[in-house]
């Protein structure tokens, strides 16, 4: 047959066709199924692709990283992602398609983009975290109160690990001399079996839960990057739901694993865990010391306060008493003074009163005598005056009498003169002598003219005056 090709020719044609078709490098996503590095430093890998849900392998390819490239790629990847470049990782890789006539199809990895893996890990972690969170257990272990004195410790560790030794040394050689109780529950702490192994240990501890205060998961001295096992969902679930507080010290400086996340307390290293536990006891110890100190201080304060009180009372007593007595003395002295001055005052007052009485007596009696003297003088002048007045008024009386006599007589005489004068005139008319000469006579009885015979009685003596001479006769008969 014409055109028949040899295998070599075929492979050569495949090779050249592939080279034409994939002349450039491609970025592809694949999962590392296997990986090994040979003595010369070349890295041989098997890459696969999986159906998301069924996890059925849908593609497979061999791949290589040449040692000169692997020397750069591996540390870069691992330092960037914090993950060992190992089976199970999904990676974004730059590849050239190789076809070797003898070995066939393979991919030569030129570069790995660690950011993709990072994203993938993060995504997976997020999924787990979400799940734990959805299940409501993510914070369960954190919510368990840590014992005040967490001295009974269940340790999950590899018994041969340097970290375990460090932890034990640190714990038992603590400076304060605190006593710890530890029990190792050995487990594989790296590799694919690690998660399962730790879970087994936790289950073992669970049976003795009451004997422990705390569970410690420590790992040390191993690879800093072989931590994927602690991102395991099952492990995280166990830790989160463990009835004792779980402390982690699995030796990763950068990011927390999910185990760290759900643990009660996450610490960097086993030593740190030991320090943490010692620290807890230290807190208690300090608290006790503080209390002891407080007790000392408070009771000694109380006692010295009371002592001060007693001493104060003691100090006050004397001055108070002395003061009281001095005051009483002063009061007595005052009373004494008051008595003296009151008594002397009273006597002085009485003396004054007596003197006053004497003065009053002398002045009163002198005044009295003066008064009496004056009265006498008044009386005496009154006597003189009255007597003299009496005599002079008598004199006036006499004088008045004399005056009235002379006027009376004068009037009488005047009257008589006038009478005489008129009589003289009448005499001419009725001069008795004339009449008598005519023969009439005047009969007198006892010197008075009788004008009526009733004035006389028979036998009476009568006188008859005649013009010349008198006749005396006795009445013989009245007619």
């Amino acid at each position: 047959m014409e055109g028949q090709l040899t295998l070599t020719q075929l492979n050569e044609r495949i090779k050249s066709t592939l080279q034409d078709a994939f002349s450039e490098q491609l970025w592809i996503i694949a999962e590392i199924a296997e990986m090994k590095v040979n003595r010369t430093g070349h890295c041989y890998l098997e890459l696969i692709d999986k159906e998301n849900k069924t996890e059925e392998i849908t593609a497979r390819a061999r791949a290589t990283i040449w040692s000169w490239q692997f020397r750069f790629i591996q540390p870069y990847f691992e330092t960037t992602t914090g993950q060992t470049l190992s089976a199970g990782l999904k990676v974004l890789i730059s590849v050239s398609i190789e076809f070797h006539e003898v070995y066939g199809y393979s991919l030569n990895i030129k570069d790995i983009d660690p950011t993709y893996t990072l994203g993938d890990i993060a995504r997976r972690r997020a999924e787990i975290i979400n799940r734990l969170s959805d299940e409501g257990i993510i914070d369960m272990n954190k919510e368990i109160p840590l014992a005040d004195i967490p001295s009974r410790i269940a340790i999950i560790s590899s018994p041969t690990a340097a970290g375990y030794e460090d932890f034990i040394n640190q714990l038992y050689n603590n400076q304060a001399g605190y006593h710890f109780y530890t029990k190792l529950f050995a487990a594989t702490m790296q590799g694919n079996e690690a998660a399962k192994s730790v879970i087994t240990a936790l289950d073992a501890i669970y049976d003795y839960e009451h004997l422990f205060d705390v569970v410690v998961i420590i790992r040390g001295g191993g690879s800093q990057v072989d931590l994927a096992c602690f991102d395991d969902y099952n492990l995280a679930q166990h830790i989160a739901q463990f009835p004792l507080p779980v402390l982690t010290g699995i030796g990763h400086e950068k990011d927390d694993t999910i185990s760290d996340l759900v643990a009660h307390t996450r610490l960097k290293t086993p030593t740190a865990v030991a320090e943490f536990l010692i620290g807890k006891l230290n807190v208690v110890d300090n608290e006790l010391e503080t209390l002891k100190f407080a007790l000392e201080e408070i009771s000694s304060n109380k006692l010295s306060e009371e002592e001060n009180r007693v001493n104060h009372a003691l100090r006050m007593l004397k001055p108070f008493v002395v003061n009281k007595i001095e005051k009483s003395k002063r009061i007595l002295d005052q009373k004494n003074m008051r008595v003296k001055s009151a008594v002397r005052g009273e006597i002085n007052q009485q003396q004054l009163a007596l003197t006053h009485f004497f003065t009053a007596l002398s002045s009163d009696s002198q005044l009295y005598l003066k008064l009496k003297n004056k009265e006498l003088q008044t009386l005496s002048s009154k006597a003189t005056l009255k007597t003299k007045f009496g005599i002079s008024s008598e004199k006036q009386h006499l004088a008045a009498i004399e005056r009235s006599i002379s006027t009376g007589i004068k009037q009488l005489v005047d009257k008589q003169k006038y009478r005489l004068q008129s009589l003289e005139k009448n005499k001419e008319l009725v001069d008795p002598i004339t009449i008598l000469k005519r023969g009439f006579s005047i009969t007198l009885k006892e010197g008075k003219a009788i004008k009526n015979d009733s004035h006389v009685s028979e036998g009476e003596y009568i006188e008859t005056i005649l013009a010349e001479g008198k006749i005396a006769s006795i009445i013989q008969k009245k007619e």
Binding site: S380, A383, T384, T387, K388, I391, E394, K395, H397, L398, I401, E402, S404, I405, G408, I409, Q411, L412, K415, Q416
Partner: protein, 66 residues
């Protein structure tokens, strides 16, 4: 004499009686002279008695002042 026994008061009374009579014209001319004589006598008597009294009283009053 009876007249000496007469008091000043009686004398004055008699004088005044006579004076009354004179004034009331109860006196006759015949009696007048006689009565006037009486009055002058009585006045003299009174005057004498009064002056004598005055002397004696003044003497007595002088004694008070001493």
């Amino acid at each position: 004499m009876a007249q000496k026994k007469q008091t000043y008061r009686e004398a004055i009374n008699e004088i005044e009686e006579i004076l009354d009579k004179i004034e009331n014209d109860e006196l006759d001319v015949d009696e007048l002279v006689e009565k006037v004589k009486k009055v002058t006598e009585l006045l003299r008597f009174c005057k004498d008695k009064l002056y004598a009294t005055q002397d004696e009283v003044e003497k007595a009053l002088k004694d008070i002042d001493n």
